[in-house]
Homo-oligomer: 305 residues x 2
């Protein structure tokens, strides 16, 4: 494999038929590999992970986004996660033999192509942002889909590609490049959303929490629980154990137990290694000490001989 | 790769030149891959991990064992780990497209060949054992190298291969087949070996500890610490967190802190996954949720298309 990019688009749907149609577009691109997808009713959001070489990933991103724009009507959409469009955000992540700059170029290509093809406005965020405030995806999402038409009248909210007003049913799309991110959700043994919101606030970087954590609270009514939904934007600097133990500490203030956790999307091996190193107090643990990795590397080396 | 076997021989040396000579024998076998080795003065023991196809692994095992028998004089050997010979134990472990029965056959071939080539007595243990008591490696090691000549006079201690008395400088060798084992050592913040022995006893399966744990205590004089050296023979049934937390509990009785831990040899990925699932309370975590594994599988699938 020459180069490998990961793409983790977030679509505003949890309808099984729409999900299927979106995934089908990705599956039809031969050199793009569908790795994971999760969706649920309470977020009403589909998070897909696929990877492959640059060209294949770009094609799969465009085709799946176009299908989502065709099938999703944002005027019918409710969900607990902030969003501005049917194809809410499409990040490109460097994995192998490719860097963040390449992924920024890819995001711009994606944005331009999607805007032309579907007549949808597209914003660049994060490392790909064209204005400082747009580095922050939360700034772009302010007011959400419901206030998008109003918001887009402001000159500073002119999109990077496409028309100056929202697509009538698909809103707008955000794209960019970022490092590997860990999606990590913690389920709390309380149905009290106010308590969950306080705990989320305590974790959230900008509100005084951990530096590389974005946290939000959500309800899971059918389980009578609430959830802290988190993105860890640099899991090597803010590791999982620190996030989990801080949720535990903040929740203990309200006598709320942690019921369970889950990864949203895929977990990098290094996060599991760091986790074992912390909880088991292991010095100098690295991927070369993992049996499967050592074998894989040995086999690759042997092939080259 | 058609089939993959792992071999984890334990040699009674920590002399760098002898270590190097032994490793060189393995490196010279093209299709055998050296994955890991650890040795230290306080155990005075070298643990090597290598893998490859059956034939390559067998050749590397025989060549490295013969070199060790040539270079190590057990009459000069001191070390805290029980041992009966220069090549103390050589286990074969099924990894891919091969089962435990194949590995038993491989162990028997290894034992027969080494006995003939080096005139060293060889015992089969574990799944390869020819008598019930020999399933237990500790039974075979009773009395260690120092009492081997005396012990071997007993008819029930007749070796499976080779001469009926010890090799004059290399003692005897044990070989067999087993499932993947996790070597896990925990360093205690005490120099008191008696305390460490009590904690090791509390962990050891046969003495009332955890079902799939063998534990021993050792001194690390240069660090003024002691160590609980453990083998977890079935890490899926007795996971790492249970072992670690029980060491912590038993050590707390003596107000002894855990300073650090280490894997001896390689750690299976599943052990890291199980560890994260426990400490972070993650439901349904499996290897397909690990980014690198998902990508590897996707790439392999794509190749087959």
């Amino acid at each position: 494999m020459k180069n490998m990019v990961e793409c983790v688009p977030n679509f505003s749907t949890s309808q099984p038929k729409v999900v299927e149609a979106i995934l089908d577009e990705i599956k039809q691109v031969k050199a793009a590999h569908l790795l994971d997808y999760t969706y649920d009713d309470y977020y009403n959001r589909l998070v897909v992970t696929f990877a492959g070489n640059k060209n294949a990933v770009l094609k799969a991103a465009i085709d799946s986004a176009a299908k989502a724009i065709e099938l999703i009507d944002m005027n019918q959409h409710n969900g607990q996660h902030p969003r501005i469009g049917a194809v809410d955000v499409v990040p490109f992540v460097p994995i192998k033999n490719i860097n963040l700059k390449d992924c920024i170029r890819l995001a711009k290509k994606f944005g331009k192509t999607l805007a032309e093809k579907c007549n949808v406005p597209v914003y660049l965020y994060g490392e790909a942002a064209t204005k400082p405030e747009r580095r922050d995806i939360d700034w772009i999402r302010q007011g959400e889909y419901e206030n998008l038409r109003e918001n887009m009248r402001k000159p500073k909210r002119k999109p990077d590609f496409g028309p100056p007003s929202p697509h009538p049913t698909a809103g707008a799309t955000i794209t960019g490049a970022r490092k590997i991110m860990v999606g990590f959700n913690v389920n709390l043994g309380t149905a009290n959303l106010q308590v969950a919101k306080k705990i989320a606030k305590a974790l959230h970087a900008k509100k005084g929490g951990l530096a590389f954590v974005k946290a939000m609270a959500a309800e899971i009514p059918e389980k009578n629980l609430t959830q802290i939904g988190m993105s860890i934007t640099d899991f090597e600097k803010t590791p999982l154990h620190r996030v989990f133990e801080l949720v535990k500490i903040e929740a203990s203030r309200y006598n709320v137990p942690i019921v369970s956790s889950e990864f949203c999307g895929l977990a990098p091996l290094q996060a599991l290694i760091d986790n074992a190193a912390y909880y088991l107090k292991i010095d100098n643990l690295n991927e070369d000490r993992v049996l499967e990795v050592a074998m894989q590397k040995a086999a690759e080396k042997a092939k080259k001989k």
